[in-house]
């Protein structure tokens, strides 16, 4: 199958109106807010060196914060603020998606606008400003009829830079719940769907270039006093914005299904959405949410349902350090969640636990079967894990229980670490028990003979506002206890493939058939 008649292009295209529309809306709102704040600030600060230095310094610092982190930081900030306004004024707002994305991106757009506006205004010939005074202009008249028009080319260059930055960085707003062209990229990276990744990158680049060129046209028109060119540019921008305002087909009563940023979550969210649709309910997927965001989003009701794992909630969300047997932990967790009005609706039937994984060949050679066996050899071995494992409390627990200490630790993209251990790049990885790649690469999971790793049952969680929603519960009921570890592994393996049948939707349908749902 050639790259160009791959059906995933068509699938990508069907998401375009939604993703592109949201992307343009969030970018335009952020840029407008950024300009509304930066332009007056720059004008006020231009002849005050101290204020000017402070502003540019602050804006530069913001710029050094990685885009992903800046976006992620705004979420808890707004969440706290929303809680505050709710308790003070009785009015809350959603700290999820649009608002944090707009604020973070607006902050991001400030540096080029501030710097270029100040540079442009300071660059206006002092003799010309003096002439403006001399002919009897007020400071305001001088600013608007002389200084700003003369600074315009430099200012526009800054605005164009800001627009390109904002449009590019907006792809990172997916993990905080704002749909954007980043949805292609995040989903594609996680499910190894390179068509999606490519599509997302190209769409974002084309959008950035289009906006840049339209702004250039406006600038050119203003500079050469060509009303036609300025009007054409303005019309182009207006058309772009208007096109995205066409209401998307999402209704308010739609259920929002959340998914974290890994393959299994994409498949399970698709499965849940398909079950809801089969029951006549409308569902939308908010995929690629950061694991720090997704639970709060459920509490706040920004999403209605998602799958989490008992051990993760127990240790990372509720900060317990003790390990309990499976059923006991589940019962405790259910009670704890209920206090926050969250319904632990049920287990799916499999566990996705951390497991230390080696190649079968190497394990046999060294006679390693359990983590205790490994501990003796570990000082001469290297281990790789995903981005969080080594900073999670579970890892500290495992290390302590077994006295584990490796020669080196590396972090990598989860999809790549199985290949890394299979090729001998690293000796051990901290993998996931439900991962299909374990079978594919002929790897073995080492026994946790001292029970240091907590249970990680996949559980369905419902938001507080859905706790009495019988229709939703009825639609989800068939999933409970239905999915065994073998089926989930195979589904994950399928989803990590790189062809048309490996899309989360297709795999979810396959999984449903496989577990005998009809």
């Amino acid at each position: 199958m050639s790259l160009f008649n791959d059906p995933r292009w068509t699938e990508a295209l069907t998401h375009l109106p939604d993703y592109l529309g949201n992307h343009v809306r969030v970018s335009v709102a952020a840029l407008a807010l950024g300009l509304a704040v930066s332009l007056p600030l720059a004008i006020v600060a231009r002849d005050k060196p101290l204020l000017r230095g402070t502003l540019l310094g602050l804006a530069s610092i913001v710029q050094t914060v990685p885009g992903l982190a800046l976006l992620a930081l705004f979420y808890p900030l707004l969440l706290a603020l929303a809680a505050l306004t709710l308790s003070w004024f009785g009015v809350g707002f959603s700290a999820f998606g649009f608002l944090p994305a707009v604020l973070a991106l607006a902050l991001y757009s400030m540096l080029p606008v501030l710097r270029n506006t100040i540079t442009g205004l300071l660059g206006v010939d002092a003799a010309i400003v003096e002439a403006a005074q001399g002919v009897g202009m007020t400071p305001r008249q001088s600013l608007f009829t002389v200084e700003l028009p003369l600074a315009l080319p430099v200012m526009m260059a800054g605005i164009r830079t800001a627009a390109v930055w904002v449009i590019g960085t907006a792809t990172l707003s997916t993990p905080i719940g704002q749909t954007s062209l980043g949805n292609y990229i995040f989903a594609g990276l996680q499910t190894q769907n390179w068509v999606f990744v490519l599509f997302g990158c190209i769409a974002a680049a084309v959008l950035a270039l289009t906006v840049d060129q339209l702004l250039a046209l406006i600038e050119n028109g203003l500079r050469n006093r060509s009303r036609v060119r300025a009007a054409l540019g303005g019309l182009g921008l207006a058309a772009l914005i208007a096109a995205t305002l066409v209401p998307s087909a999402r209704s308010q009563s739609s259920y929002a299904v959340g998914a974290k940023t890994f393959t299994e979550q994409y498949v399970l969210s698709s499965l849940i959405a398909q079950r809801l649709q089969a029951a006549g309910l409308s569902a939308t997927i908010r995929a690629g949410l950061g694991s720090n965001v997704i639970f709060d989003a459920l509490v706040a009701g920004d999403i209605d349902v998602y799958v989490d794992y008992s051990g993760t909630l127990w240790i990372n969300q509720f900060h317990h350090t003790d390990n309990k047997p499976r059923t006991e932990l589940l019962a405790d967790l259910k009670a704890t969640l209920a206090k926050q009005d969250i319904t632990l609706f049920g287990e799916l039937g499999f566990e996705n636990a951390y497991a230390l994984v080696m190649t079968r060949k190497r394990a046999d050679e060294l006679g390693i079967r359990s983590i205790s066996d490994l501990a003796a050899r570990a000082p001469n071995m290297s281990i790789a894990g995903d981005y969080e494992i080594f900073s999670r409390p579970e890892w500290a627990g495992i290390q302590k229980t077994y006295g584990l200490s490796f020669r080196s630790q590396r972090q990598m993209q989860p999809d790549f670490m199985y290949a890394a251990v299979a090729s001998g790049e690293v000796d051990v990885i901290a993998g996931y028990t439900s991962d299909g790649l374990i079978a594919k690469y002929d790897l073995v999971m080492l026994q946790d003979n001292k029970h240091a790793i907590p249970p990680y049952d996949a559980v369905l969680l419902l938001s507080p506002k859905r706790k009495d929603d019988q229709k939703l519960k009825a639609a989800l009921q068939p999933l409970a206890g239905k999915i065994d570890i073998a089926a989930m592994r195979e589904a994950n393996l399928r989803a990590s493939g790189n062809d048309a049948s490996s899309s989360p939707d297709a795999v979810a349908r396959w999984l449903w058939d496989k577990v005998g749902g009809k």
Binding site: A127, I128, E130, A131, A132, Q133, G134, V135, G136, M137, T138, Q141, T145, V146, P149, L150
Partner: protein, 262 residues
């Protein structure tokens, strides 16, 4: 000399940098209606500061300045500037505005009707001898230095001021353009009954154009009067300023044959 001078400086002082640099030091000078006064001095003599005190582009520290009999410190500086024409060094034209918009700027700030401004711009282009049709819509960078300064003069005259202040208006021009423009302005000054104060570092230009010449050095007014009166000044610097052009003229006379092209 009339009872009330149109511009009067009375013991005016101005210093910068918290008093460390004294730009204008106790200067008193009167300019009568219809007079053309040139203020001559080197760079740093305080002549430009003195000029700008009159329309409050710079505020005086000490003394009193009166324009048309009114103390300038009691007049809104914006309104004051709109009723005094000001010609800047090398034009000071707004580079993004057409010749017509540059000339019409003060009338439009004063809220004149568009039609009247357009008429005024055409009249002024005639007055400074620039072809209306050809120059009206041009941008300043499309003009020669002399043409730009003609537009600068037209802009200063646009709101029909009685007073025109000129800051080294012809300094950056080639000698032929400079001479022609000086003569043209001198004629306008007479025709329109203007009162003009011109800053220059060139004594020859001052003597040839002005009725009276004031000499400044280090912020102080050393001497003032008609060229003939100045020549009797006992001040060595004034004497040197006057002797230099004369010596140059004599040498030129000796070097150039009388029946030549000159």
């Amino acid at each position: 000399m009339p009872v009330t001078p149109l511009i009067a400086y009375v013991h005016v002082g101005k210093s910068f940098d918290g008093g460390r640099v004294v730009a204008v030091d106790d200067v008193s000078l009167e300019v009568a209606e219809g007079e053309f006064v040139a203020v001559v001095g080197g760079s740093g003599s305080g002549k430009t500061t003195l000029l700008r005190l009159a329309n409050r582009l710079i505020e005086a520290d000490r003394g009193r300045i009166a324009v048309e009999g009114e103390d300038v410190s009691r007049i809104d500086p914006i309104l004051l500037r709109r009723r005094i024409g000001y010609v800047f060094q090398s034009g000071g034209l707004f580079p993004h505005l057409s010749v017509a918009a540059n000339i019409g700027i003060t009338p439009s700030l004063l809220g004149w009707p568009q039609a009247e401004i357009a008429k005024r711009v055409d009249d002024l282009l005639d007055l400074v001898r620039l072809d209306r049709a050809q120059y009206r819509e041009r941008l300043p960078h499309e003009l020669s230095g002399g043409q730009r300064q003609r537009v600068g003069v037209a802009r200063a005259l646009a709101a029909r001021p009685r007073i025109v202040l000129m800051d080294e208006p012809f300094g950056a021009l080639d000698p032929l353009t400079r001479d022609a423009l000086g003569e043209d302005y001198r004629a306008l000054h007479r025709e329109l009954g203007l009162t003009t104060v011109m800053i220059t570092h060139d004594m020859t230009e001052a003597i040839l154009l002005a009725d009276r010449v004031a000499v400044m050095r280090s912020g102080r007014l050393l001497a003032e009067g008609t060229p003939a009166e100045l020549s009797t000044s006992a001040d060595a610097y004034v004497g040197e300023l006057l002797r230099t052009p004369r010596r140059q003229a004599e040498r030129l006379g000796a070097l150039l044959p009388r029946d030549g092209a000159a």
